[in-house]
Subunit: 394 residues, 2 copies
């Protein structure tokens, strides 16, 4: 039996294990110091009330023969696909139900969608990047090329017409940088993808953090996108579903062959999302649910503003934090990512994520997130203001 | 962009759509006739009480900040993996926690495990077969060879040492035939796999229907299996989880490389099973849960006995039905699968599944299942006894 040798080419990431190790060592040395974690990439607020109520109801249904549900459609129940379609229609995007596929999350679908493509494709990925885009293609043995996101383009790289690519990844609002493309920038990407006969894999997992109506929350707000783009979205950050697991993927019928292949892939290799979770997701899209999740998003965005305002005050260059839970900052005094990590941990006991863990262009940058509590975020920023960054540099 | 051309080699299955079409046409023509469905491949009894209680509790936890759960470990929470390990220990099988991977079901894992293997492998599949084994390998472009299951070997084929195979599928109790391997038969398969340096993919989704302690419920009851076999199991049929979605896959540490690769695959392309569902699954393994699911299994097995006893009385050759919810019968009077389907529908309004839909060797065979109600199963078998099969043949 021959194993898939491409797995040998995967790079081991020691980012989060090294973070944990350094924090543990510090805690043991200084047990009385209160550490504030602003590196969290996970939601912390509980599920909202209408979601909890919908789940209790669904659990009861599952316990009674007359309302029990066995196998559902692999691509999701109509009640949830209709709710997603209605959500898109508010953005003036019309979707047929068979363009909508319910899944257990964007991460699964972003990985599994690659089943539809030949090994012989060139993959274009921005650097810095959500590591899943890279690793899933390394596993399949595809050629990967990188496009530079950096301070010059404000971490929003635009296509280079001379570069040939077949599969293009974009994420806006971006993880890890929090940078958000505007419509004309995304139009450049759509035109580029169409000219190249490429498929654009658009990760919109953070769309709900956009508060400016002029900024696109879906790739399908861009003319021509239905001819080239697949969109991945998730309720993980929108509604605190990181431990509840529900997302949705849009494969437009203009991409007829891919739409049919994805249906075949999912009906063959997937058995759908739990009924209970689909009822929970339906509740997110209800009028009440939308009000409730908005409160949570506002809470996180206030934290983001606290961080962003403090960085402005301290003249620390950064992107994100306005339409994103992530704030991506340039480490002051030309510190490396790990130097700044050590500085924050040792001097003010604030933990973030070194940018170098997200790609070469992340070196010298640092990611903070707004998923902590307001109290901790305020305290962390107070500590940062008080410490004199320049003086503390070795 | 180049698509995966292997998808063009997938055969369209019209099995269940043709069944539905024929049943619809009959209903329109004879609206007063009561049709009994014994073709159901899905459970019908609701979730048991301790599972429902566990889910309500977990939903409440998710609605409160102090007990809310975000991302969990992709391979499953320890509380559930410990419950699975304890369940195996009752069969005298010792598993380390990192040999156990919680998933959203056996179908997903049976498909996704193929990520770990090169295209250049020969796949050995019994015929008739659960179509997922075939389709997932066609999608990847692997060479598939079939081994004949038929009345001569009682649908329990044994390995042919002259046949070279790299990836071997076995399912016992079998879907669709209900046939169950004994220990010495499985030992032949394990020895064969080890000699060939092949991996054995063992689907034990129906293990809980085995009531004879001398029959193996796990491949790891066979000496040497930990050196060559990966086992896939599911709570779908065990505990009525077809719409709740939870399974588990065992990748032994003796298969060190595959164990590490599967962990990497799952952490990269999967985000774990919902916390609520994992708590539900934990309840299945509790003492109360085990008593409750046993009642449901007994209910289905009584139906299976009703069917099996009637077929015995009518001298209709069959396998399964003793340690399986499936009964696989030879169509009387040398009818083809579809002829017998039409006969049952037209004469006694009983719907089953034509065996030809599961492979070439299924032609002339027919699958009935025990997932209907006891009343309907009894009535269907009364109707079958009354109709004179021989006389009604054209």
């Amino acid at each position: 039996m021959n194993i898939n040798k491409n797995y040998d080419n995967l790079e081991q990431s020691y980012l989060f294990s090294t973070v944990a190790k350094k924090v543990n060592e510090f805690s043991l040395k200084f047990p009385d110091k209160k550490i504030i974690r602003l590196g969290i990439g996970d939601v912390t607020l509980p599920l909202c009330k209408s979601v909890v109520a919908a789940m209790h109801k669904a659990v009861d249904e599952m316990g009674v023969q007359a309302t029990f549900r066995g196998y559902g459609p692999e691509q999701g129940y109509d009640f949830l696909r209709e709710a997603v379609a209605k959500y898109y229609s508010k953005k003036n995007i019309n979707l047929d139900l068979d363009e909508i596929f319910i899944s257990d999350g964007a991460k699964s679908d972003l990985g599994n969608i690659l089943d539809l493509f030949d090994v012989n494709n060139t993959v274009l990925v921005p650097d810095p990047v959500y590591p899943v885009y890279v690793d899933t293609n390394v596993m399949a043995g595809r050629k990967i090329i990188f496009i530079n996101a950096n301070s010059e383009n404000k971490f929003l790289p635009l296509p280079d017409k001379d570069v040939k690519a077949d599969i293009i990844y974009l994420c806006s609002p971006n993880n890890p940088t929090g940078a958000v493309y505007n419509k004309s920038q995304l139009k450049e990407w759509v035109d580029y993808a169409k000219n190249q006969n490429a498929v654009l894999l658009f990760d919109s997992a953070y769309e709900c953090f956009i508060s400016d109506d002029s900024l696109p929350r879906s790739i399908y707000e861009i003319e021509g996108a239905k001819d080239c783009a697949i969109e991945f979205c998730s309720l993980s950050k929108t509604a605190g579903f990181t431990g509840t697991r529900c997302g949705y993927t849009i494969v437009p019928k203009n991409l007829d062959k891919l739409n049919k292949m994805w249906l075949r892939r999912q009906t063959t290799k997937f058995n759908g999302v739990p009924y209970i979770v689909q009822r929970a997701a339906e509740a997110v899209f209800s009028d009440e649910g939308q009000i409730e999740i908005k409160e949570n998003i506002n809470y996180y965005m206030e934290n983001a503003k606290i961080i962003s305002d403090t960085l402005d005050k301290l003249n620390i260059w950064h992107v994100g934090g306005k339409h994103s839970p992530y704030i991506w900052l340039k480490c002051p005094n030309d510190m490396s990512s790990w130097e700044f990590f050590d500085f924050l941990l040792n001097e003010i006991q604030v933990v973030g994520t070194p940018g170098c863990g997200f790609g070469n262009n992340g070196e010298g940058y640092f990611r903070l997130t707004s998923f902590g509590s307001k109290e901790n975020t305020l305290e962390a920023m107070n500590r940062l203001e008080k410490v004199n960054v320049k003086e503390h540099m070795v």
